[in-house]
Structure formats: C-alpha cells, structure tokens
Symmetry: C2
Subunit: 183 residues, 2 copies
C-alpha cells in the first residue's frame, strides 16, 4: 500500500511488517474488544486493513512519545502498552494499561498536535497504524467507511471527554473541600 | 424539511422558525467564529442549513437541560447562552458563556447520552438545530459533507479533550500539593 519513504519516521525503530491486509482476520477478531470497530462488518475490516500498516515493538520500546509530532493512530493487535504522562514534577505517571483492541493517538492523527502522552510496549506488541493521509484517502475512496470511522472516533472522544470532565469536576470539588478544611 | 411531529420535544417551549435554509447567509457569516464551519464553503453551508431547523429562545429559556436525553446539537446563530453544571453540592456552576457561532450538545447528538450541562439563553437567542437523524441522512445523501462535519466534530472534541485533560492534570497536581501542605 505504501512506499518506504511514506512510513512515519517516529516508528523507524520498530520492525515494519507490511500492510495489515493479511492480518485482517486477526483484526476482525478484535471487534468485541475494540470501540473503533464495534459496528464494522468483516468486509469493512478488510477494507480498513488495506489502509493500515503493521509494526512490531519489543518490550520496552516506545511506540508514541509525549510531545512528539505525529499524524497517525495505533491499534494494538497483540501485546500490551502502558500510557504514561509527565506531571508538573516531570515524574512519569501511569495513566492506563492497554491491550489488544485498544487504540491510541487518535487526537494527534486528527489535529496534528503533539502527543499527549508516551506509550511504551511492556510485552512484545504488534500495532496497526492508520495515518491522516490514509484516513483522507478512505474518505474520498470509500466515503461510507470513512464516515463510519469518523463517527466511531467522535463517539470515543465524546465518551473520553465525558469521563475526563467528570473526573475534573470531582477533582475541583475535592480541592475545594480540602481548601475548606484547611481554612 | 421536517414534519411537525419530528421536532425534538425538548425544544417544544421554543418558537419554531422553520428550516435553516433561509438563514444560510447568516450562518455563513458565522464561519470566522464557528469551529464546526471553519472549512466550509458557502455551498456547503447552504447544503448543511437544509438539514437544520431554527428556534428562537427568549432570555431566561433553557435550550438544553443537564440530565435530559437528546440527540441534537445546537449552533447559536444570534444571542448568548450560559453553560451551567451542578456541582456535588447541587449548586449551578457557570462553565462558559457562548455567543454566535458556538455549538453545544455535540456529545449527546453522537452518543445519545444525557446532557452534561444546562444551557440558558441570557439574551434573545436563535439556534440552528442538527439532530442525529439529519446527520445520518447527510452521511448517506452527501457523504463528503458528512465526512467534513464528522472530521470537524472529531477535531473539536479532540481539542476539548486536550484542554480538559490538561486542566484535570493541573487540578490533580494542585490537590497533591495542597495535601502535601496539609501534611
């Protein structure tokens, strides 16, 4: 699907396994665990896989690095990834542990802004990569598939935003309560 | 565009002004102030307006109510709206003040979950409403326009999620610092 020079340089330290078409059955098997794919048919998964590339990361390898540029998202096909973000004291805080079916990096794929957190493989891991250019091609060449992917992304971001907003309101409430106790 | 019975019952207390087609020039004039429309051409705004309905709200009227069901979003065409959410003590906290060009309710349009906050008109206000069924029709009938709307929604949610996550991390840091001071 893709010329060598087109591959994201941020993934240059990972082993390139070719396009994801041959792993389409494996990706299809992720559907019950993958919010992005939950409404996809086998035919749609095959179509999507055609636009994705596979990479293998050894345990310990960073697959995304906080602050890096990057216009691609990752779907974990096998393995495990820890999501870590530096706090104000620059200590890495574990935000989440993700396994097969989970996706990361959607925000940068869409808005092109710096990575929000670092993702480190903690086991041998295979990821399927979708970049913005491929998403744009899907929208033009397969508009219904494109709309489906975008709709699922909106849904996922919406749910994450609800959860994060609820945590923020909880934290602000607690902070106010703590401040009241101090006074 | 729409039969009487199809209009959202949550908007029954507002004055229905018909479909948004005749206000397309006014909606087009919002582009510089509207993240959703920032990459829209006049022709695309006209197409979109065809799928939206206009409502007038008097000052003091609720246009969305926290906890309500609802599968539509609103674009403020003129006027002003306050966004308020109840905190743990059930006091309404002002989250934001929005004017022409701002959109609210995208999350519920997409995920069908309860409204996260209440929006109250604080001046005579006109809103353009897009519901999930109309968005689905746009995707089928005008797939490129549908993809454009969804892409803008993903972008907006992504930016809100980044901002909210940054505020959450800030609040958690401050709470930790406060706790350390107390100890």
């Amino acid at each position: 699907m893709r010329r060598m020079g087109d591959r994201p340089k941020q993934l240059g330290h990972l082993e390139y396994l070719g396009d994801a078409t041959k792993q389409a059955p494996k990706i299809h098997a992720l559907i019950p665990r993958c919010a992005l794919l939950e409404n996809f048919s086998p035919a749609e998964v095959r179509l999507l896989a055609h636009f994705m590339d596979l990479y293998r990361a050894n345990a310990g390898a960073e697959v995304l690095r906080e602050g890096d540029p990057g216009d691609f998202m990752l779907m974990i096909v096998e393995g495990r990834v820890e999501v870590r973000k530096r706090d104000a004291a620059h200590a890495a805080q574990l935000l989440a542990t993700l396994d097969a079916g989970k996706t990361v990096g959607e925000m940068s794929m869409i808005d092109g802004e710096a990575r929000f957190a670092t993702c480190v493989a903690t086991a041998p891991t295979v990821v399927a990569v979708l970049d913005r250019e491929s998403l744009a091609r899907i929208i033009v060449e397969q508009p219904m598939l494109g709309a489906k992917i975008l709709m699922e992304l909106v849904l996922m971001l919406s749910q994450r935003l609800r959860a994060t907003s609820a945590r923020l309101i909880g934290a602000l409430d607690e902070r106010a309560a703590q401040a009241a106790n101090v006074v």
